[in-house]
Subunit: 140 residues, 2 copies
């Protein structure tokens, strides 16, 4: 029941950007360095964040990343979705139900998994990047 490092790194990086919201683009290199995350790995993560419009970018010299919106309006669930984190406790209640369980019709546990999934989703739906950010020490 653990979140992947991709998700955790994404959140850390985004909190970092949140602290600098409205002050222009920040280079990936800086974030990676300050947060102690592999630059290449973080690059990959930001690729997903950008496709989901969580961040917007500017290429070339002086370029970098910045939040696509105010931290207070960015829900955690959208970040998790962007990096591909599934919140389903079992695959059979995942959004992409490609691998359908043959037992699902008679599965006595299924309603509970659905419920648990809702509870978890609700959690991430009710918190924003700003919520986390306000606990962070502002530095720089």
């Amino acid at each position: 029941m653990q979140l992947t490092t991709r998700t955790r790194y994404a959140l850390r990086a985004l909190v970092y950007l949140g602290q600098r919201y409205g002050r222009g683009a920040v280079q990936l290199r800086e974030i990676a360095k300050k947060e102690g995350i592999s630059e290449k790995y973080l690059e990959q993560i930001f690729y997903r964040l950008r496709r989901a419009s969580i961040v917007k970018t500017k290429k070339g010299p002086g370029g970098g990343y910045e939040l696509g919106d105010n931290p207070a309006t960015i829900k955690l669930i959208d970040i998790l979705s962007a990096v591909g984190e599934s919140l389903a406790p079992v695959f059979c209640v995942a959004d992409n139900k490609t691998a359908r369980c043959p037992r699902s019709k008679n599965c006595p546990a299924r309603p509970y998994w659905e419920k648990l999934k809702e509870v978890i989703e609700e959690f991430f739906n009710n918190h924003t990047l700003a919520d986390i950010g306000k606990n962070a020490k502002k530095k720089g």
Copy 2:
């Protein structure tokens, strides 16, 4: 955020035993066969369940497993604990905090992880084996 097959198999097997509660021991072979789970793997799972007193056993011919208590009194959280499923969304809020995060002191996300963990634990604490069992078709 997925539960392991160990957990799911354990639940399925225990629901099976729950349907036969009070009617003597059931052989592992039978459960494995009916549930389509590897006998050896299930054996390993029951080893943990027994150590946690979720099930009790009888060795030798005519032996087998049966629930250690009434299904209605067996909380899901105890089953999950028995098979070693962690409900912590990140390792730093796990019960065994062996691998301590160096950032944990200033981690802005941590209070949220603690909260999420509580929510998930609450879920499994508030449901019993009987809850799941009552959705199961009784057969035999």
